[in-house]
């Protein structure tokens, strides 16, 4: 039973709801966060016990370069993802050009290509012994590498382009959703006040879409920062390279944890700054979804421009890698198509599916608890539960082992003392450890999108439902979840695709004789035999396509278009 609320009194709704809500949501949110935060906290704990202080040596030698390289890589990737993601999203939303409907979903496809796979593929294509340089040499009669200049793919520039190509879909996805949600009348008003289309874009459209784009960029940033496969392969010396050097070569896990923590703090500071900088900007859901978007009709020349803007990243980020994998997969098909391959495919699908659902469930719990109890504390909990995303996978894996093995051994001790039975390792070294690791890693993706979607549902919905006698849980199931169907689907699918690609944590945590497609591909690719694992690599990419198409449709459905 809710007290009658004055409709003008929206700002007071949160405490009102909280007062009438049992503590069970709050407590489950706290418990969930506590469990999910354990791996990150374990890494923080490690950071307090380094073998020795690594910083004086680092500062005197390689740290400045690690920092510069990391900074350059991040700026480059942000520039690429921002330029490609935002411009294509805007053109596809607002302009009519040939292939527009196709690009609507096709722009997302590079998301399905793991960064390490695209790096291997382009190295195969572009290095000296690859088809491109062979063709050039034949064409011009060159005989050795001394005769001509060719851009070095294994470089900072190469890594920036590779990572940018597979990560821009994050920005595209969120920017497009934001553009679709904007009321077209805002655009018309700006135009009628004398602004050009371009000026309107920068003064009205972009500022309104900024929160969404910022979320996309922060995902890009975190993925870039914790990428190891690509930078290692390209010999690009980022902070991650320093982290692994400290860990593996100096045997200083604590020091490595300190570097990881530093990187984590950097991300947290950046995200906080972004939020702070738009603290005074508040947006209200004044949109009307039934008002259709009037797309621009463009001149022929401009239409071609749109096609090129969209086709280029799609070709480079998806078509070329996929075709090249398909070629090798075909050549080595008989060798690759075996029971192991099928088992690995099944492993990948089941694991990723389970992890996507778990992550969604926890994401909804956290986001809804925050809606019910909108306190500073809840905000901190939300942020804390998302930190796993900003940590290199291998480091996070060690963070996962610590609490799981700790629990296993504690339980084992206890059972031995009490009943004389040994339970051994129950959780660590099992598929549970993998699902747990994926959840910790990708919770940021699902919790974040559910949270932002929930915020857009007006609190009067909750009030109506609650005053009609529904419990908070009942309200969630009958009111919110049906409204959030599109968001939930998207969140689950993004996590699914991410899990299919996940490599470093899977390698360390998996059970005996257990491979996913990603670990199987890595085993060959790391031995310079990509061709032998092209089929599983192709399957990772293909498995991403279906979810991506579904995802794109669920976004497109949010608005009818004239």
């Amino acid at each position: 039973m809710s007290q009658p609320a004055d409709p003008a009194d929206y700002k007071l709704h949160q405490p009102l709801l909280a007062r009438r809500t049992s503590k069970r949501w709050l407590i489950s949110a706290i418990l969930t966060t506590a469990i999910v935060a354990l791996p990150v906290l374990s890494v923080l704990y490690l950071a307090f016990f380094p073998e020795e202080n690594i910083w004086p040596h680092l500062v005197n030698t390689t740290l400045p370069r690690y920092l510069t390289t990391t900074f350059e890589l991040m700026v480059g990737v942000i520039a690429i993802t921002l330029a490609v993601g935002v411009s294509s999203a805007w053109l596809i939303t607002m302009c009519d050009f040939p292939g527009r409907r196709f690009f609507e979903w096709a722009m997302l496809l590079p998301f399905a290509v793991p960064a390490y796979v695209i790096a291997y593929v382009y190295t195969n294509l572009l290095d000296y012994a690859g088809p491109v340089q062979i063709a050039l040499r034949e064409l011009f009669g060159w005989t050795s590498a001394q005769d001509y200049w060719f851009p070095e793919i294994r470089s900072l520039g190469g890594a920036t382009v590779m990572i940018g190509l597979v990560l821009y879909p994050y920005v595209y996805l969120l920017a497009r959703a934001a553009f679709l949600e904007q009321s077209p009348s805002l655009f018309s008003v700006s135009r009628s006040l004398g602004h050009s289309a371009l000026s309107t874009f920068f003064r009205v459209v972009l500022p309104i879409a900024r929160p969404a784009i910022a979320v996309g960029l922060s995902l890009v940033l975190m993925e870039t920062l914790n990428d190891f496969g690509t930078v290692d392969f390209f010999a690009v010396q980022t902070l991650t390279a320093g982290l692994f050097d400290t860990w593996m070569n100096m045997g200083n896990l604590g020091g490595a944890a300190q570097i990881a923590t530093t990187m984590l703090s950097f991300v947290v500071i950046l995200v906080t700054l972004e939020r702070y900088s738009r603290r005074k900007q508040s947006q209200f859901a004044t949109r009307d979804n039934r008002e259709p978007i009037q797309r621009f009709t463009l001149s022929r020349k401009r239409q071609w421009f749109c096609v090129i803007v969209c086709a280029l990243p799609f070709l480079l980020g998806f078509v070329i890698p996929a075709l090249s994998l398909a070629y090798y997969a075909w050549e080595y098909f008989d060798e690759s198509w075996n029971p192991t391959f099928l088992q690995n495919t099944l492993n990948s699908l089941l694991l990723s599916g389970t992890a996507a659902l778990t992550t969604l469930l926890i994401g909804v719990t956290l986001a809804y608890s925050r809606r019910l109890h909108n306190t500073q504390g809840m905000q901190v909990l939300m942020r804390l539960s998302s930190l796993g995303y900003a940590m290199p996978g291998a480091v996070l894996a060690v963070g996962v082992i610590i609490p799981l093995a700790g629990f296993d051994n504690w339980l084992d001790d206890w059972m031995r003392q009490l009943f004389g039975i040994s339970t051994g390792l129950l959780l660590s070294g099992s598929t549970f450890a993998l699902v747990f690791a994926y959840t910790v890693r990708f919770l940021a993706v699902s919790a974040g999108s559910v949270e932002s979607a929930l915020q857009k549902i007006t609190p009067s919905m909750d009030m109506a439902s609650r005053s009609l006698g529904h419990s908070p849980g009942g309200t969630l199931i009958r009111v919110h979840l049906p409204m959030l169907r599109g968001t939930l689907l998207t969140a689950a699918l993004v996590v699914f695709v991410d899990c299919m690609k996940e490599l470093p944590a899977t390698l360390i945590l998996r059970p005996f004789n257990f491979d996913t497609l990603a670990t199987y591909v890595y085993q060959f690719a790391s031995d310079e035999q990509l061709a032998h694992s092209a089929l599983p690599a192709l399957i990772i990419v293909m498995a991403g396509i279906v979810p991506i198409i579904l995802m794109s449709r669920s976004i497109g459905n949010t608005r009818s278009v004239a």
Binding site: T62, A145, L357, I402, S526, E528
Partner: protein, 337 residues
């Protein structure tokens, strides 16, 4: 929210193979790719009926073993590079093993004094030289790599790679830190390009004319010769045994260690014995073109055709102990820049 579906998926996932449980098995944590081990493990299972279970990862397995503690399922750790084996020993994760078969098959300098690890193969860190552009005998030692006459003519992989670190450790052991650093700076000065790629990539770079000299492990060259698509590149390159006239060529090992917590100790010991014996040592020699640790087994025909290797007698333990000094030296010289 369709809770039923979630529950069903969770149930399916928990039915995935958790860990293989059976009486006759041995569990392996491996830093080497599982497909490299498979022929050896298949031969082992065929002979003994003992099943093998493997987890392969490039890092993190020692941490996993450590945290799993006495309940860890792992029986043995298989790895390359002496420093990695030494890490396991220093963390107290391995147990000493006195065993007649192993002690007979593996020479004393290739095993831990208390049997906390045993080498299975050795590999020399060779100089690769261009057949066309480097005359026979023009380079004969690691020291000469720092000679300014090679300026802009040498390629290597990252100075931080364990194989290079081990070589640099041995330079520190022989010349002291100061002299070794001067040598490394000289070598860096001679580089034709920023260190990158693996050892095979350096052979390719010589074939492509990017550089004339490189350093790399013996078996990469052997494996490239054996692979039809890579043979043309390898044929552009000659292998030189460095310091053959003097202290000998720097070697590193791949090896195996029995874990402290090994639940299937007897089977693990059988595996270790098997890997030191003729059949397994021959597979290592033939399929992987490594030098067998067991002196009774000859290297493969290809490897033997390069001539006899005279290994540096420096103790592996000392190489492991100099690792950190070598890493810091690489940073100070800024080798990878």
């Amino acid at each position: 929210m369709q809770i039923k579906h979630v529950a069903a998926a969770l149930a399916v996932a928990s039915a995935l193979p958790l860990s293989a449980h059976g009486a006759d098995e041995v569990n392996i944590y491996s830093y080497r790719q599982a497909n490299l081990l498979q022929p050896l493990l298949n031969a082992f299972t065929e002979e003994t009926g003992i099943e093998t279970n493997v987890v392969f990862a490039k890092n993190g397995l020692a941490e996993r073993l450590e945290r799993e503690g006495r309940n860890s399922p792992a029986d043995v750790v298989m790895t390359v590079d002496i420093s990695r084996l030494n890490d396991l020993v220093e963390r107290g994760l391995t147990q000493p093993l006195e065993n007649d078969v192993l002690e007979q098959n593996i020479p004393e300098n290739l095993r831990h004094p208390e049997g906390k690890w045993y080498a299975l193969t050795t590999r020399g860190r060779m100089i690769y030289a261009s057949v066309d552009r480097v005359a026979d005998g023009e380079i004969t030692s690691y020291e000469e790599l720092a000679d300014p006459k090679w300026e802009g003519r040498i390629c290597t992989r990252s100075g931080k790679h364990p194989y290079n670190i081990a070589l640099f450790s041995s330079m520190i052991a022989h010349h002291g830190e100061e002299e070794a650093q001067a040598w490394l700076a000289g070598l860096q000065n001679n580089l034709a390009r920023k260190p990158q790629g693996g050892d095979r990539d350096q052979i390719k770079a010589i074939a492509e004319g990017v550089c004339d000299l490189s350093i790399g492990n013996s078996y990469y060259y052997g494996k490239m010769l054996a692979d039809e698509s890579q043979r043309p590149a390898a044929e552009q390159v000659r292998i030189v045994f460095p310091n053959a006239e003097g202290r000998g060529t720097h070697i590193n090992i791949s090896g195996i260690a029995l874990t402290n917590s090994s639940p299937n100790r007897e089977n693990a010991i059988k595996l270790m014995e098997f890997l030191s014996q003729e059949k397994a040592q021959q597979i290592y020699a033939e399929a992987n073109t490594e030098y067998p640790a067991n002196p009774d087994i000859q290297p493969s025909g290809i490897v033997a055709s390069w001539g006899e290797m005279h290994p540096d007698s420096l103790s592996l333990q000392q190489i492991a102990e100099n690792r950190e000094a070598a890493v810091r030296m690489v940073d100070r010289v800024d080798y990878d820049n």
